[in-house]
Amino acid sequence: MAAHEVPAPNAHPDYGYFDHDADVGLSGRGPTLEAAFEAAATGLFALMVDVAAVRPRERVAFVFEEADPELALVEWLNRLLAEARSRGLVFGRFRLRRQGDRWQGEAWGEPWRAGLEPGVEVKGATLTMLAVRQEPQGWEARCVVDV
């Protein structure tokens, strides 16, 4: 895939939610750590919008450095929230690459429009129940997000 090519929508992104009293527990799974993070991002935005309805009209790219994979998950999700909110965008597709402590993130989406049914706003990803782990069936990344 070319560097800026829009990734195809994942028909079955492997994300899920777990219970938390006031907020929402979010998890993403994938064959690689990066894929698990991408799935978590899809789950994050699925709280706010029907991600399948989001058109990949605009691309946002960013880089961050983080040695701790758990803090990297929080950084990844919070960077996506910040980029979306400050640009008035909503994202539906995601790509993350990692070289050591350097993470390259990309997201595709569009400005909010009438046809997009709003869900609930996510304020931020928290350190609560934060975990990134490799299991026999692949990677799982999870944390509680504040809504």
Partner: protein, 483 residues
Amino acid sequence: MDLSRLVPFNGRTDNECTVWTVPLRPGERRAPVVLFGTRRLLATMDDKVLEQLTNVARLPGLVGAAMAMPDAHWGYGFPIGGVAAFDPDQGGVISAGGVGFDISCGVRCLRTDLAWTDVAPHAERLADALFAAIPAGVGSEGTLRLSERELEAVLVGGAHWAVEHGYGTRADLDYIEDGGRVAGAEPANVSKTAIRRQLGEMGTLGSGNHYLEVQVVERVYDAAAAAAYGLFEGQVVVSIHCGSRGLGHQIGTDYLVALAKAAQRLGIALPDRELACAPIRSPEGQQYLGAMYAGINCALANRQILTHLARQVLVRLFPTTAVETLFDVSHNTCKAEHHVVDGRERLLYVHRKGATRAFGPGHPALPERYRAVGQPVIIGGSMGTGSYVLAGTTASEQRAFASASHGAGRAMSRQQALRQWRGRELIDELAARGILIRARSLRGAAEEAPGAYKDVDEVAEATERAALARRVALLRPRICVKG
């Protein structure tokens, strides 16, 4: 919550007990924990509340006890409904997790001179007009877009900035905590990302549990306090629940990670990384304080702008009405306050995360009009039940650093609520009960189903029985605007 570990704090052993503690285990080192509430309310709390409270009790420089209000529930780091005071001279800390993401989230209550009987025939029109005027929901932007320089002025000026720019009246400022602006805000400590997130979000409600409600005073419990607050049965009031929007969320995000790393560097053993903190006197602590105060001012300005928008709608539809600020409380803050501990006045940094400040009668920070009866405390309910106005007590100053409950508190997770309710059906059901909901998100409405919250009547009653605040009036919702 497993109640077997709890013992009455004040020696009472009957069912009337509303103050509880957990004895130390052999070898356990921490400050005391205190939970306020009835046995029934405590039983509905997740065990995580006690776990989180116990973790708070291990932080350095804690004064007195780590406390949970009657509406406490499982949060991140601190429980929501958590109160903790720290002494800067004893190595006390400031914790981003003890304030929360939505810095200075709170409630502005407006009183009108309208009776609901006069408004009821126009309720649909009022609901539609408020829904059109109040920007709400994920992705919404306000009607004003600021430059970075203007926003920095907001972060210093708070509600004063809003009034100076035509949003409201000077009289509003007298009835906002801290006179509508906290000192010590440092916009330079706020990241550019946080600033950019907020440029289009001033004067927006948000989503989740935030709301604008038109309510009716259904019952007055305390005639003297109600008179001081200008409340009477049958009266229409408006409550606005929201916070510091994207700016506060980003400050929380930035400093949660930064303080977690700082704590590690400074050798503070955190039982939970989410308690991210630094000594108040440290450069890191001071930096967060300056940013957090900027977040408070942002929230105060935001609620002031929304007050103005709501007032415009009410005056347009009911031209002779007066819409005055009853009070504006913040319930996600850390503030420097003087409290008497063991007979000595001390400057403490009081974290209230999902807890309302509740100064008692005679407190010098209160406006003259309320000084004899105590600070208005607002317990926001769910959109189908009710809210309470209470008054702060002298006992609360002694027991809980002048703190009280802030809301009904969730009894059910959002995922559980989604499995149980459908947004459209819920809105229709509430309409049949005379409560008009205007929501931008059906999913959001379902998550906020009244059945997903604790019994607000019980929370208010327990708050009174624990002497944290006394009930003044019960407000019933008639119109609710949601994001």
